[in-house]
């Protein structure tokens, strides 16, 4: 009934929540097979600058305000709608049975590479595991997104 991700993370000390990728292997090695380490590192910085204040350090979001990025169908699912969330923003959409009151602004001013990096980071942090997003893929979605 409540946000499961939030409950799981609530059990962890604050310090651990600050560095979700720290659980992955040392920096030199890629965090998961096929996930470029450079993209993850850049994505982490972009997340801190653009997303953390709403989605929080642990990606758990805020009850009924800001959606969690932990194991959601959007984060782990098809990349096209996911990229579109960043290009167009999002409001009033029910996510996995829950509604969120806040507004997700559009991040269309980020470059294709930046969107790819931050989404690659999100898809491989906070307990998520999914394939990387490539700048070329963002480019295709952006071109089709133009009205």
């Amino acid at each position: 009934m409540f946000v499961l991700g939030a409950l799981v993370w609530a059990a962890m000390p604050a310090a651990a929540q600050k560095k979700p990728v720290a659980k992955a292997k040392p920096a030199a090695k890629p965090a998961a097979a096929g996930i470029p380490a450079a993209s993850l590192a850049l994505g982490k910085t972009l997340y801190a600058q653009n997303c953390l204040s709403c989605h929080q350090a642990d990606g758990g979001g805020v009850d009924r305000m800001n959606a969690p990025l932990t194991q959601t169908t959007w984060v782990l699912g098809d990349k096209t709608p996911l990229v579109k969330v960043l290009l167009n923003g999002m409001q009033g959409v029910e996510i996995d049975g829950e509604r969120y009151a806040n507004v997700m602004p559009a991040f269309d001013y980020l470059t294709d590479q930046q969107i790819a990096d931050v989404l690659t980071y999100v898809r491989n942090s906070f307990g998520n595991k999914a394939t990387a997003v490539k700048a070329a893929e963002v480019k295709v979605v952006r071109a089709a997104n133009k009205k």
Partner: protein, 427 residues
Amino acid sequence: MKSATSRYLLLSTAVVGSLSLFALKNEYKIVADADNAGLKLPAGFGALKVADTGTRARHITVTPQGTIFVKLNRPTKEGQGILQLREGGTGKATVVAGFGNYGGTGIYSTKDYLYASSDEEVFRYKLNAKGEVTNPTQPEKVITGLLNRQQHESKSITLDQAGNIYVNVGAYANSCQVKDRQKGSMGRPNCPILDSAGGIWQFRADKLNQTYGDGTRYATGLRNVVGLDWNAQSNQLFVMQHGRDQLHDNFPELYDSKESAELPAECLYALNKGDNAGWPYTYFDPAKNKIMVSPEYGGDGKKVSTGSYLAPAMAYPAHTAPNALLFYTGTMFPEKYRNGAFIAFHGSWNRAPEPQKGYYVVFQPFKNGKPAGPYEVFADNFAGTPEKANAGRPDHKPCGLAQGTDGSLYVTDDKQGSIYRIVYAKK
């Protein structure tokens, strides 16, 4: 927890095992939980969990006859958006009825009526002599057609003593930007949101089917008010505003994330008809003690506003989300609490990456109908531990306040649906 218990035992008048008994009028004994329901309270106070409802319990009211009604953020599976509770002999309560198939926040009772709000409408239900709702499926619609665009959707309500009802209509934006919450987006000139939101509207409490046209925009320039109450001493409406978010996110060259965590203050306003509290054009900087120009409207973090906006009556830490305001008129608590205000701070999210804050109930002393002196944290540790509070992962989030017929203080939690009751041990 242990120290709270032992301190409590020392102070209580009657001790049975590890439980403290509050003897009230002899016939009715309220038993504080051994651990004070996990709360940290001033000496002499105790707390019990009245009920664990497992719901999103928003605001709460206790009728003069002692019936407890709780408004839920969304209805239960059975379609109950309002819960009616009855207490047993020790203060523990059970849900005895549920009705009103709509989510919302506001709830308020008089001797004769229960008022409750969805996010668009205000209803009222006739109460019988026992303080029970007799027509749960046929409420009267008092107000209809209020704006709900998801953001700041709660319609909190309170009544004055002259038959008027006050409703908050929150602004559906952070700061009236051309593109809401987007980095660098500037403010819309002559913010059009203020026509129908971003303020408090006054209606008649006994007229039905009122829309905007029947009401008065009582005060404007208030971004979002969830906690409001009528002060009978000064005969005045007081409201707590949720201040704007994201100064650093949207204007990183003007505010660093530390400044953004402390700006702006959450403000208490003493309203008179026609007042303008300045949103979105201004915000209140508590360190400078000045009303500042918002960056969306040409501010730079230093520019002081020259507009004639209402100054706050008191300021509290930024982003801590005051969700309920209650003037205490009971006699159970010591004299200093009488006619002062309790404020439930739901807790922050927009202080990240700095530690989060709130998840407590504050007491604000008042004198002659005006705030007097610094506030104090009255009931703390709804979060469970300081670490959970800092991480923004609290166990409970205080959201609603009500005064019991005996002068005890009820607090709701909309995270797990716990209902607390705070009592004082009379010496």
